[in-house]
Subunit: 403 residues, 2 copies
């Protein structure tokens, strides 16, 4: 039996080859960028007017001029006009290119515009503070050829906007691996069936499929009977077709728990079996020489849930090429004791105080079979194995599945 | 000009009618549940064995019996067997129904199994502590007909698992409104075009589309030229087809800023124009008597970004029927001063300390046009208007667009 940290390290060390694929900007959001994005021109690409008002030449104002005849209007989207006389001005609109021969914008609020004999004049009420006032200067944010977005970035709407602005209508992103979710357990029937008294409907597969979908990963779902010959045959097929197998059930030491034995018979090298944690202790993990990675999770729903969020989700993020997620922490609202020398994943509800402190209130559930108990929880607090008493106010790592 | 709080209140007060739709379990994750989900039977539905071992009758052990002949094997998925003699036992597997005439499970680790003359005997090594030990009792988590998941819940993988277990293969969810994203501004060209020196490519539309997609909302994207007749005509069409219009640009006081005037001409009642905030001050909001809600955002990319996350995202969540998101807070890493009497949305990068404190480091950006500056940010800290100095360590509400 190994520790949670050791199990985590062995999982994260497993790489798989993933092709890149090209998606439209809309589809790419939330995915991991598979190419670097560079600036094709300066940001902004021209001296950009940031206020509606008039554009003048600063030296004219410095030389004592405070009223300028309005020569014309520079709209956004129009080619740059040229100021013909430095004693005159051009009206300019936000987003427009700064007219040639001008270098300063004074907003409408700081000028008074009057008409005399069919001509318009702008009289300056508040002195411009400096040259290039109200001008977003060409290249001041980024320079052409600058690296804007490194490979491995998770694409938020901010990256999507920047990619659009440099002319990328599609983006290379890491293609999610093909995942097969395989449940076992002869007590399980289909969702659409009415179970007999000793049967229950499948739920782990749907939990896993939903959780993977939230990560942008599509998974196929299968159920296999607790039958050795059938398991051998079917799992052999799945290992040929999928890069990742996530199994649920059949990994304890019961009479029908054939999974570890069969996986090894099929050439999947066992990298560990049993982790010093509750729930989820019987977790089995291995890798096939031909590539596929196999997570064989315990069939108890809460165990499946914990193992997915603690191990599979961060592993997927890593193989897709992204940096680890933020390390959330939360403070226990009340004392908890847990005697076994196991890492304890405690279901908790989260409250954020007015001062921004994340508080974790333990949720009592009826063991690792009580997945309805998770409905009241937001995540799990990871309580370390070398401690038996966990005090109110102490903070621990948080695995969050909501919010 | 109204305050940010007043603008938020006026937006949240606008309801729109949304139909419910039915989605598969996989597709329903992340959506807002549009029906209550009840337990169809007890949770668990039978006395469920939680450890591999033997099942006995507790009174037999109490009466002094400590070795039980193994009568048979109760596998998961098989109908309940019946123990014929209370001095004997049945082997039982995790997940199985507890056999009739038994009430206690002793795990393999606590018994020693020996064979004599072809018969198997289990000798108890560690006394059972109580009746129903290692049994997850029928109905102990939930009772048949209990409300499991109320309407309005955002469906996490936990709810998906529970829905599957009660036989729901599809779920009623609130159908997202039809959204049209409409950019204006004659300086904008298509992503696939090479802009002239005074032009830039569209980016706000893609940002908005991506952000909406992350909320599970599909949006159609349009661009309209700064032409009054065309705007009147096209916006009139859009108001007939979409429940929500999100416009970007044309709401300031420039010569080509026709949007507020045209919207009112089309019967959209102005609920506010201008909010005491930076960036995003020129934000216009209104509602058409026939239903559609119109968010007309300033065209500066950072303004569009802030207004989406501050107003549109929470509004969508509300109209879909979900509770508000968690109120995140973060602590400034360094002092900030901001003099205008405006709410200041400060771009920040987030660091979470080992003790779970969210720290917000201000990101200097080149004004509301510097959307490349957002690449370094994780969100915005909302600094209130009635304060000019914001001290290091002080905490403020956080709007987060990553993590």
């Amino acid at each position: 039996m190994i520790t949670v940290d050791e199990a985590f390290a062995r999982i994260i060390a497993q790489k798989i080859e993933l092709p890149v694929t090209e998606l439209s900007l809309e589809e790419a959001v939330g995915k991991v960028l598979g190419e670097p994005i560079y600036a094709d021109r300066d940001f902004p690409p021209y001296h950009r007017v940031t206020m509606d008002g008039i554009a003048i030449r600063y030296e004219a104002y410095q030389a004592g001029e405070d009223t300028f005849r309005v020569e014309g209007l520079q709209l956004a989207g129009a080619p740059a006009q040229t100021l013909t006389s430095k004693d005159e001005c051009l009206e300019v609109m936000t987003g427009a290119i700064l007219p040639k021969n001008t270098d300063t914008v004074i907003r409408y609020e700081d000028v008074s515009i009057t008409e005399r004999r069919g001509k318009r004049y702008a009289h300056i009420l508040a002195a411009p503070k400096m040259r290039l006032q109200n001008v977003h200067q060409q290249g001041s944010d980024r320079r052409a050829t600058d690296l804007l977005i490194p490979e491995g970035t998770i694409l938020s709407p901010a990256e999507i906007a920047v990619a659009a602005s440099v002319g990328k209508s599609s983006l290379k992103v890491a293609e999610a691996p093909r995942v097969a979710i395989i449940s076992t357990g002869d007590e399980l029937v289909e969702v659409t069936q009415t179970p007999l008294p000793h049967q229950i409907r499948k739920s782990n597969s749907y939990m896993l499929q939903a959780a993977l979908r939230e990560q942008g990963v599509t998974a196929d779902v299968f159920h296999l009977a607790d039958d050795k010959a059938l398991l051998l045959n079917e799992l052999s097929e799945k290992l040929k077709k999928y890069a990742v197998l996530v199994l649920s059930g059949g990994v304890s030491k019961g009479k029908a728990d054939y999974i570890p034995e069969i996986l090894q018979e099929l050439g999947v090298e066992q990298l560990f079996h049993e982790v010093a944690q509750r729930p989820g202790k019987p977790f089995w993990f291995g890798k096939h020489a031909a590539g596929p990675v196999v997570f064989a999770l315990p069939g108890n729903p809460v165990s499946t849930f914990v193992c997915y969020y603690k191990y599979i989700q961060p592993w997927l993020r890593t193989v897709l090429g992204a940096a680890p997620a933020w390390n959330l922490q939360a403070h226990l609202t009340t004392e908890v004791t847990f005697n076994p020398k196991l890492t304890y994943f405690l279901p908790v509800k989260i409250f954020i105080t007015a001062n921004g402190i994340w508080r974790a209130q333990p949720i009592t559930i009826g063991g690792s079979g009580d997945f309805a108990g998770l409905l009241a929880a937001d995540g799990f607090l990871e309580l370390p194995p070398d401690q038996m008493k966990f005090s109110a106010g102490e903070s621990f790592p948080l695995i969050c599945f909501r919010g």
